[in-house]
Each structure stands twice: as C-alpha cells, then as structure tokens.
C-alpha cells in the first residue's frame, strides 16, 4: 500500500523544485535540450467560466495554471498560457481560439470541458495543424471517424469507464454483489457509445441489463425513468448525464422515494456544484472524472502541495478537475521535453511515440489520439461528506475511501 501522506514541508518542496529547475537548466546547457532556444512556448486554451459548465471553469483554470508554472520551471523557455472564457459555448470557444491564434504565435491548444466543447476545440486545432490536448472527453468515436491527426486525449475513454465500473462492482463481496443493471442513456453520440460499452462489458461479466432507456439532454423530468427503474428492480444505475441533469435526477429520486443500491453518474457528478445543490442527498454517488483525490505517484503529492500553498482552500480534498487538467499539462510538458522543440510536428510526433507519467497514471497514445487501450485505469470516485474520494482502484491513500455500498434508502439517511 502506498501512503501519499508522507509529510512534505513547504521548505523541502521548494528545495526540490529549485533543484529540478537547476537540473533542467543545466541539462539544457549541456545537451542543448529544446534546442537551447529562447523561443516562448505559447499555449492557447479556453475554460468555461460562465455558462452551463461554469462550476468547473475555476478548477480547470487552476490545474492549467499550476501546470504552466511547473512547465516554466522545467523547460528552458518561457511558457505563456492564454486562457479565455468560452462561456460554455462552442461558438464562443471557436471565436476565442481564432482570436488568440491570429494575434499570437500559438504552439499548442488545450481543451475545455465536456465532449461538446472539447470536440469544437479539437476541430479548430485539426484545421490549424496545431497539437491539441483535451480532458473531460470520454467520447471515442470522433477519434476513429474524424481522422484526428493533432488531437490527443490524456483521459479515460468510454471503454476505460466501463472497465472501471466493472472493477468497482468487483470490490463488493460476491455474496452481496448486485446483478440487475439499469442504463439511462442520454440521446447523444457519447451517450450511445457509453451505454454500448456498459451493456457489453457488464453483460459479458454476467450482469443482467434489465433496463436501457434514453433521455433527452436538458430534460428536467426524470420521473418516467425513475418509475421504469423501480419497476425493473434496478440495483445498479449507470448514466452519463450533464451536471445539471444528474442533480435533477437525484433530486427527483429523492422526491419519488427511490434510489438504486449503486449509482454512477459519469460527468454528472463531477463538479463541486453536485454537493452544493444536493448536500447529503448527493452522498454515495460515483463518478469517473479522470482524476480523484487518493491517487498516488507521478506527482500527485507535489500537485497537492502546490495547490494548497497556492490557493486558500477549506478542505483537504482537491476538486477533481484540477487534477485532470494538471495531468494534461504534465503530458504537454513531457511532450515538449521529448520533442526538444516547440514545432507542431515535433510535439505531435512526441505525443504519438512517448509514454507519459502523469497524476492519472502511465500511458501512451494511439495514432488517433486515444490513450492506448488498457493502459489507463480510470479512477472512480465517490461523494462522501462533501468531497469526492477515490473508491477504485484501491491505492491505500488516506484520501481514498472504502467503497460504500449499498446506498441506504432515503428514510435511513
């Protein structure tokens, strides 16, 4: 078991950072790393600071900014990060990227939140022949069908989410393990893809898929789905709604006096707004946001130290999207280091060929930008006492928790 709580004082952290910076600069002098160039690495990106996904904007920005600081320490060139608010809107995102790339010599683009916004940014980057990194982007189909050449997703994909769901279920003792699975499928491409993976993966493992019903993204009324799930005696409920949809659904489960024994809302339960809107009613919900407090190794401890020293935070649990976006910056850093250049093609080639160590694990990419199959263990988190904590895989971290199952009925909560 790894304990990621070993005491690291601020002094020792600063010493380590300074040492790494000195080593990196020496390496640059000795070997001409990065070509010894003084050229600035300019990165453009957007985050949803207003609009429907605004509850996640600050977390993404913080992860990106912490990553930029680390890149500035470890690369022998300045790293400039241009970040704008995309207002949770794909059109605004495109306009912002267009404006940033027109006015600056941009070398790389970082994505926003959700498949909707990330694919919009990716399409722009593909058109401009610029390397693009995107998180919160589990949808696999665009990677296969859109001939991606510049888009890379350091993030668990639909197949990884399904594998992680199975892993989480296997944490339950066999005698108590549920068997009846219900899937609420958003009427979107990713909704269909994720539902297919869940149905196939869990079906092959012997689970009964007793319900698979679609719902409209933006729907405010889940009462029919709740009745259908109750009627089908669903024990495990899986879905990938928007954050607003997920909150609405749980709210209505409560008022309809029904809840499954296990609930996993991928993306829906990602933001901190989950707890502020639902409070204790949001407890026990699982999510798969790419990174969860409780993961260890590959800079997790360093990230936590930096985050807590940089930002005044009340809790000891970092928001999940800070870790997810920081992981993206680690990939960018290592790709530029490996490329030894900020030329777009060199960075792309490094993305294709290198293996990356980040706070979410160790992985490489397929040519189409998908993380190589089977290399990423998608961490599953669970809401408990106002924080998202790692439920699967078991790292032994003090920030992880023992997977809590089953969800008690509303009357006992």
């Amino acid at each position: 078991m790894v304990n990621d709580d070993s005491p690291v004082t601020r002094r020792s952290y600063l010493k380590g950072t300074a040492g790494a910076a000195v080593t990196a600069s020496l390496a640059g002098c000795a070997f001409g790393g990065g070509g010894g160039s003084d050229d600035t690495l300019t990165i453009a990106g957007t985050v949803p600071e207003t609009g429907a996904f605004s509850s996640l904007g600050q977390d993404l920005r913080r992860g990106y900014e912490l990553g930029q600081a680390r890149m500035n320490e470890q690369l022998d060139r300045d790293v400039e990060l241009l970040l704008q608010d995309d207002e949770s809107d794909a059109q605004t995102l495109r306009q912002n990227l267009q404006q940033m790339t027109s006015n600056n010599d941009v070398n790389m683009i970082w994505g926003s939140f959700s498949s909707l916004l990330v694919t919009a940014g990716s399409a722009y980057a593909e058109n401009q022949n610029l390397p693009f990194l995107g998180i919160a982007f589990a949808y696999e189909e665009p990677h296969r069908n859109d001939n991606y050449e510049w888009t890379y997703a350091p993030f668990p994909k639909s197949r990884d989410v399904a594998r992680s769901t199975l892993g989480t279920l296997e944490l339950i003792p066999e005698s108590e393990r549920p068997s009846r699975v219900g899937i609420w499928e958003p009427n979107s491409g990713w909704g269909r893809e994720q539902a297919e993976y869940w149905e196939t993966r869990l079906g092959e493992a012997g689970y009964d898929i007793v319900l698979r019903e679609t719902f409209e993204i933006g729907s405010q009324d889940f009462s029919t789905l709740i009745s259908q799930s109750q009627s089908a005696d669903v024990e495990v409920l899986l879905s990938n709604p928007t954050p607003g949809g997920g909150i609405t659904a749980v709210n209505q489960m409560q008022s309809n006096n029904w809840s499954p024994d296990m609930l996993k809302f991928v993306r829906g339960a990602d933001p901190s707004a989950w707890w502020s809107a639902l409070g204790d009613a949001g407890a026990y919900a699982l999510m798969c946001p790419g990174w969860v407090p409780g993961l260890t190794g590959n800079g997790n401890q360093q990230l936590r130290e930096t985050y807590t020293s940089e930002y005044e935070t009340e809790g000891q649990y970092m928001p999940v999207n800070v870790g997810g976006s920081y992981n993206l910056t680690q990939v960018a850093l290592q790709a530029v280091q490996a490329a030894g250049s900020i030329e777009a093609e060199a960075i792309r080639d490094a993305l294709r060929s290198e293996t990356f160590q980040t706070v979410i694990g160790e992985f490489g990419f397929e040519d189409n930008g998908l993380p190589a199959e089977g290399e990423l263990t998608a961490p599953t988190g669970q809401w408990w006492d106002g924080a998202q904590r790692l439920a699967y895989p078991n790292t032994g971290s003090e920030r992880a928790l023992e997977f809590r199952y089953p969800i008690p009925p509303w009357s006992e909560r």
């Binding site: 609009g51 429907a52 509850s55 729907s219 009462s223 029919t224 006096n257 933001p271 502020s276």
Partner: protein, 293 residues
C-alpha cells in the same frame, strides 16, 4: 415492458407536473389576452421567482411555499415598474417594439442571474424528502402533490379575481374592447399596469413552485417560455380553464411519450399534439371562451 402500473404512474406524474406548467403559462396567457403582447421575458421572470424562493430558503430555511409570497410581491412590483417605465411607450405600437424590449429584458435578467449567482443549478425543497402517499398502483410524491394543489389554488384564485372583483371585471372589459372600456370610465392604462403585475407575479409564483421540484439555473427561462407557449396554444389564449387543461395535457403527453417511445422522444408527442391543435383548432381547446370568462 410497459405495465399498467407504469402507465398509471406516468399519467399521475404528468398530471401533477401539468399543474405547474399551467401556472407557468397563466401569466403569459393573461398578458397576451389582455395587452396583446407576447412577454418574451416571462420564462426569465419565472427564473427570478425561483431564485427568490431558493435564496430565502437558503438564508432563513423558510419553505418556498411561503417564499412564493415574497416572489409574488417582488415580481408584481417588477411588472408594475416594467409597464410604467418601459412598456407604456411601446404597447399598442405594433408587435415588434414590445418584443424587442422584452427580449432585451430577458437577456438582462439571464445575465444578471449569471453574474450574481453563477451558472450552477440550485434547489430548494419542502423538507419532506422521500415522503409521499403510496396508493398501491401509484405513488404520489408529496412535493409534487403539494405543488399541484397550490398551483390549482393559484389558478382558481386568479379566475375568481377576474370573475368577481371590480378590478377583474375592468380587466376583462379592457380585454374585450379597450376603447369601449375607456369610454365607460375605466382607466385602461392602470388596468395594463395591474395586468402586467399579475402576469409577472404568476411567473414568480410558478418559479417558486418549480424550485421545489427542479434545480434552477439562470438559463431555464427560454425552455419554460416554450412550455408556457405550448400550454397557451393548447388551451387557448386568455382562457384560464384552457390553461389548466393545456398544462395537464402537456405534462401527461410528455410522460406517456417518454414511456412508450423513450425519454429521447419525451417532447415529440407533446409537440405533435401542439401541432395538431394548431392545425385543427388554432384558437386552442378553449379559445372561444368556453370557461365563460
């Protein structure tokens, strides 16, 4: 598999939801029927009412059922100010100008909501989670049942006000013929002020009720405006009974559509009914004044 139990549960859920749809549409119908303007900011006023109830609940723990009265008061005042300051210059000047003013107001309200409260969804509740009445074949969720009863009471109260008070009679007279009403000594400008006040107050009431069932964010205005439109078209402009029936038809058809065709088609059935009514009875189910208003 669709069972009889599922069908009856869907109908009951739709019926209970329909009550709130009806209140949400009533103010729109009233303002359209009497002032001949389409209040494009109606959904955003509903959003403001919801936030009033939610913030009051968050600050004091006062249930949105009581917070609704504060929302009604504030939105009534907003309606009066709106009519006196903005709309009086454009009402009766064609349909474009009020639409532009109200569209602008909708955008302003949405952006104020976003700036002040952020984009996160917020909720309030009745403090009775998970409770309800189990009738065996259907479960009556207590929050939904309570909001439905309050919604019906609001609709009946509005009907009684229009039917039995002097102001209500003056409003109806103005709706029938503004010029004749003026000649009969009715201060029609004042009637417009009161009408818009009542219309926006009803939006505030609907918002407060909705806050007990659904999370609210600054962007809900347009979707509830569309639902309110559908209810008004179904029931008939200016008809209170028609609004209630239209709301229930919309709620039930949405739920049955979701049950039989899947949730992705939730709105398809209700939209087909909406189109059917437009084609076959464009004045709405009660558009000829069937409730005797």
């Amino acid at each position: 598999m669709v069972t009889g139990e599922l069908v009856s549960q869907s109908i009951v859920n739709g019926l209970l939801l329909g009550g709130i749809y009806a209140v949400a549409a009533l103010g729109l119908s009233l303002v359209f029927g009497i002032m001949d303007i389409v209040n494009l900011a109606h959904g955003h006023m509903l959003m403001v009412g919801a936030y009033v109830a939610i913030l009051l609940f968050a600050a004091t723990g006062i249930t949105p059922l009581l917070g609704m009265f504060l929302a009604i008061g504030l939105l009534f005042a907003l309606g009066i100010v709106l009519q006196k300051v903005l709309l009086k210059h454009v009402v009766g000047e064609g349909i474009e100008q009020p639409i532009i003013v109200l569209f602008g107001l909708a955008l302003i309200l949405q952006n104020i909501g976003q700036l002040v409260l952020g984009g996160d969804a917020r909720t309030a509740d009745l403090g009775i989670p998970g409770s309800g009445i189990d009738l065996g074949f259907v479960f009556l969720s207590l929050p939904r049942t309570v909001t439905f009863v309050v919604a019906v009471l609001l609709i009946v109260s509005t009907w009684a006000f229009l039917q039995y008070t002097r102001t209500g009679q003056a409003i109806r007279a103005t709706a029938q013929n503004r010029t004749a009403a003026k000649h009969m000594g009715i201060d029609t400008d004042r009637i417009y002020v009161i009408t818009l006040g009542i219309g926006t107050a009803l939006a505030g009431a609907a918002g407060a009720l909705l806050s007990m069932l659904f999370p609210i964010d600054p962007y809900i205005g347009w979707s509830y405006l569309l639902k309110a439109f559908a209810v008004v078209v179904l029931g008939g402009v200016g008809s209170i009974l028609g609004t209630l029936v239209g709301g229930v038809v919309l709620g039930v058809s949405e739920n049955l559509g979701a049950l039989y065709l899947g949730g992705g088609y939730r709105n398809v059935v209700s939209l087909l009914i909406f189109l059917g009514v437009l084609l076959l009875k464009p004045e709405g189910l009660f558009g000829s004044g069937g409730d005797g208003e």
